[in-house]
Symmetry: none
DNA sequence: TCATAAATAATCAAAAATAATCAAAATTAA
DNA sequence: TTAATTTTGATTATTTTTGATTATTTATGA
């Protein structure tokens, strides 16, 4: 069996099950743990799956670049994403200088944009390409490109951000809680979010209802430092901590 | 059986199965391993399949969500670009810190790269994504993203380049002439090429035969400032001006 | 917190695949 | 036809991949 065929087999199993253990793969592929681990490492490095302790998961949890993965994400909270994206897009005027954070939620925002003269800066490769495709002026920040998310991160990225002062910024998040604020699983991406948000006159966090009362390892901003844009706010207590915009 | 018939048979089998092993081909073609390997090498070199350990896969199978804009350029001189790309890739060692200029020619170079430890910096969005897909460490420079070519340009890009000192750099060009050197139609892209090349210990310009004795509006480097990598040098006089490497 | 179990990374020898070499067979040119 | 050239397949040396072993790291529960 060719290496590429084994890769394909792993990805196929993963697509069906969403998560798989090393042991399951050794049985399915009739090969050793070493080989499975090496394969997972390679696939993780090229951003085609997410390696976790014990096995691997699909990318969908955080960000994603593959189209199938994006499709599954769409199905998760489709109406809400549309509502959030449209609501956020309404806020952008022709005079704005806008930062768009990498991640799937902000990618949906781009769908509702038209070229009204605003200029955009982003750390997401996909985002830059999508904005370009709409004929919108876009800058990308420089730095190391992360495999899984295709987001630009690292010290270069932070330094690159120093050149900009945004009127508005739109961010994704993995968790929101009153005490831990906005949080994300990845330290590098968290650092970029943090720096970018500090350079925005107004910051907006786009979050569907599943993100509330969740905490991820890295807090990148306090709860009061950004306006939350969501579909329908279920937990009203968040209005005590910051502004919340509800779509539709 | 004619060599070309064998080539065709291999490609036909491959088109159906997407991946084949050397052993399968020896049985299907009733020939020796040596011959199959030689055929695969030849087909790989001419870019008609992708040779992997154990056999071969189709080209498209791998990754590549190639864009339409780039796609049109691809077909211009495909075989020669493949030869040039391979030649260029051979020059990169694990210790190198490499700049890859945006453009279709340098995109071919990436096809022949494997992760040998070298680090890459590029101003091409597609190039960054392709390198990522191979699990190779990659940085992107910051700045304005140009619509048609998806290249990063402008003053930000020039400033971003100041952070780097490359051991090797690979560039595309639109024209080469003894007097006007290497030239390109776009001023912004020319400025980035010029700055990036100045920061390379060794610079290489990848050029198919159609580029010689042509002049574009903006000269970005003198003829002697880079080694030319081409398929087959038709106009020998260029050897008087700079080093020329010929593929094959 | 610490000890224990589980998972992973690192290492290395064996196995598999490949590249290099070379003589025989087939093809082409003279 | 013979001589020269190319192609082929066998042999070998080299490289890559694999799986077992060991050391290290991470998670879990007392």
């Amino acid at each position: 069996m060719l290496t590429e065929e084994r890769y394909a087999a792993i990805l196929k199993i993963l697509a069906e099950k969403k998560a798989v253990t090393v042991l399951e793969l050794t049985k399915a592929l009739q090969t050793s743990e070493s080989t499975v681990r090496r394969d997972l490492t390679a696939l993780h490095r090229s951003g085609r799956l997410y390696k976790v302790y014990g096995g691997a998961t699909t990318i969908d949890n955080n960000y994603s670049n593959a189209e199938e993965d994006m499709q599954t994400k769409w199905d998760l909270h489709p109406e809400e994403k549309v509502v959030i994206g449209r609501k956020a897009a309404e806020l952008i005027t022709g005079e704005d200088f806008v930062y768009i954070d990498a991640g799937s939620t902000t990618l949906h925002l781009i769908d509702f944009l038209t070229d009204n003269g605003a200029t955009f800066v982003t750390n997401g490769m996909q985002h830059a390409v999508s904005l370009l495709a709409k004929g919108i002026k876009v800058f990308i920040i420089g730095g190391a490109v992360k495999a899984v998310t295709e987001a630009v991160v690292g010290t270069e990225a932070l330094k690159s951000l120093e050149n900009y002062n945004f009127t508005k910024g739109f961010f994704g998040t993995n968790g929101i809680s009153p005490k831990s604020g906005f949080s994300t699983p990845d330290a590098d991406e968290g650092a970029v979010k943090s720096e970018a948000m500090a350079r925005c006159k107004s910051a907006f966090v786009l979050a569907d209802s599943s993100k509330f009362n969740k905490i991820s390892p890295i807090t990148f901003a306090g709860i009061s430092s950004a306006t939350i844009i969501t579909g329908r706010l279920e937990d009203k207590k968040y209005r005590d901590y910051t502004t919340v915009l509800e779509g539709e």
